[in-house]
């Protein structure tokens, strides 16, 4: 077994998320905060402002006129869209590289992360009982951050993991834990602790595969879990772990999600997926 402390020390090789993104997220969840407070935060960060304006002015958004200020961008695209762009922009750098071990090509982990985030948003809007839609978006985006560090340890132990998954009925994350001593969701939660994420975000990252039974009662974590599963079924940015994770129908039951609802969310996520390539190129 690899020394778990060695793996955890790999967190230092990641590029931390800019503090401004974390501040914006905190404000977005606060019902008492105003649009101008969020705009102020972006405006006071010149590099973030420049990135947002560049993205907004791309043909992708089809705006009828040029956007010259963050306030303009918020008016034209809506605050939600701008917050999402800030979050994508803040996380892109870490996810773009090709992690070893999971059989993912360049950018595929990032594609999966972004599509999961949009799937979670679609679910939150149609079936979620949550006011914390940006938190759900962020958790879905960051849930696999542990894979970036885990990758080379998975590569080293792949034969053993593969045997457990394909001959002994382990899910991929159960096999990671058994063989390596830690799995990608626990490692992702460690990243969150190190980067001082909020407790709820850390919880959602740690439990996004719902191995812990109590997490299945948490409505926000349920959205992230389902978004992940939907992206696996669609087959976007999924590697050697494939669909080797567990399905808990009680999570869908609790959300009162019917088979028809699930198919509708898959369809909507699929629509989003078809537009995603152009957006990923921009952020």
């Amino acid at each position: 077994m690899t020394n778990v402390d060695d793996i955890i020390s790999g967190i230092d090789t990641l590029r931390p998320i800019p503090p401004v993104a974390a501040q914006i997220m905190a404000l977005a969840e606060d019902e008492n905060s105003s649009m101008s407070e969020i705009a102020d935060l972006i405006v006071h960060d010149p590099s973030l402002t420049a990135s947002i304006l560049k993205i907004c002015n791309a043909a992708y958004f089809g705006l009828s006129r040029r956007v010259d200020s963050v306030r303009d961008a918020i008016v034209l695209l809506g605050l939600d869209e701008i917050i999402e762009l800030v979050l994508l922009n803040a996380t892109a750098e870490n996810f773009r590289d090709e992690p070893d071990g999971y059989g993912l090509g360049e950018g595929e982990l990032w594609q999966h992360a972004v599509l999961s985030a949009y799937a979670a948003k679609i679910l939150a809007e149609s079936h979620g009982f949550t006011s914390q839609k940006h938190l759900v978006f962020t958790a879905a985006l960051l849930k696999d951050i542990g894979k970036i560090i885990m990758g080379r340890f998975v590569a080293f132990s792949y034969e053993k993991i593969n045997i457990l998954v394909h001959s002994r009925g382990y899910s991929f994350n159960e096999a990671e834990k058994e063989v390596i001593g830690i799995n990608h969701e626990e490692l992702g939660a460690r990243v969150g602790q190190k980067w001082r994420f909020g407790d709820q975000l850390i919880y959602m990252i740690r439990h996004h595969h719902m191995t812990d039974k109590t997490a299945r009662d948490d409505p926000e974590t349920a959205l992230v879990y389902l978004a992940d599963i939907i992206c696996m079924m669609i087959g976007f940015g999924t590697g050697v772990d494939g669909l080797a994770y567990r399905f808990y129908s009680e999570v869908l039951d609790r959300m009162k999600l019917t088979e028809k609802d699930l198919q509708n969310v898959i369809f909507d996520t699929g629509q989003r997926r078809q537009k995603l390539d152009k957006l990923l190129y921009l952020v």
């Binding site: 079924m233 976007f236 050697v240 494939g242 399905f247 369809f267 699929g270 629509q271 997926r273």
Partner: protein
């Protein structure tokens, strides 16, 4: 003087058939490919006599369950509307039903996925029932499991290559 070989074949091309798409080809140098098929199913149909074929990459079993009116604009997302359009398109370019070589790959499922939510299984049922109605035999099926698959159809010779991530490629 060295004997120089000059190929008269066009340069080979690989065309991706994305999720929710149908593509047909009669270019012998073209390979159609659907990457990372999950619970959806890649279906290839090929007429070896006139050397035309296509690949449908759908993800849901039944368009009539959709509440969104958008569904009618995306027929290739669904088994029912996608397969009907695929058959019509092949027929229109001269393929004969009796000649068709049909290969299906995909229909994967999450572990312990219960029947009602098992989209991969439902997709398989939808394809099987459509092909049965049309009396089309399946030449090869690689369905189910917890793996992602890539399906390729070589238009030049009608060969299909099925790659499951982490395993060797199967040629059928």
């Amino acid at each position: 003087m060295l004997d120089t070989h000059i190929s008269h074949q066009p340069i080979s091309v690989m065309t991706a058939v994305n999720f929710g798409e149908l593509k047909l080809s009669r270019n012998p140098a073209e390979t159609l490919v659907a990457f990372s098929i999950g619970a959806g199913i890649g279906v290839t149909m090929y007429d070896p006599v006139i050397k035309v074929g296509g690949l449908l990459n759908f993800v849901l079993p039944d368009s009539s369950t959709m509440s969104s009116s958008q569904a009618q604009f995306h027929p290739f997302m669904f088994a029912d509307t996608g397969l009907a359009a695929f058959s019509d398109a092949l027929h229109n370019i001269g393929a004969k039903t009796d000649n068709l070589k049909v290969v299906i790959a995909g229909g994967a499922q999450i572990m312990d996925q219960t029947a009602a939510f098992n989209i991969g299984h439902k997709n398989h049922q939808a394809v099987t029932s459509y092909l049965g109605e049309k009396k089309l035999a399946v030449h090869y099926a690689d369905i189910g499991g917890i793996f992602m698959r890539t399906l390729r159809l070589d238009i030049g010779n009608g060969d299909n290559l099925i790659q499951t991530l982490g395993q060797t490629e199967v040629k059928v």
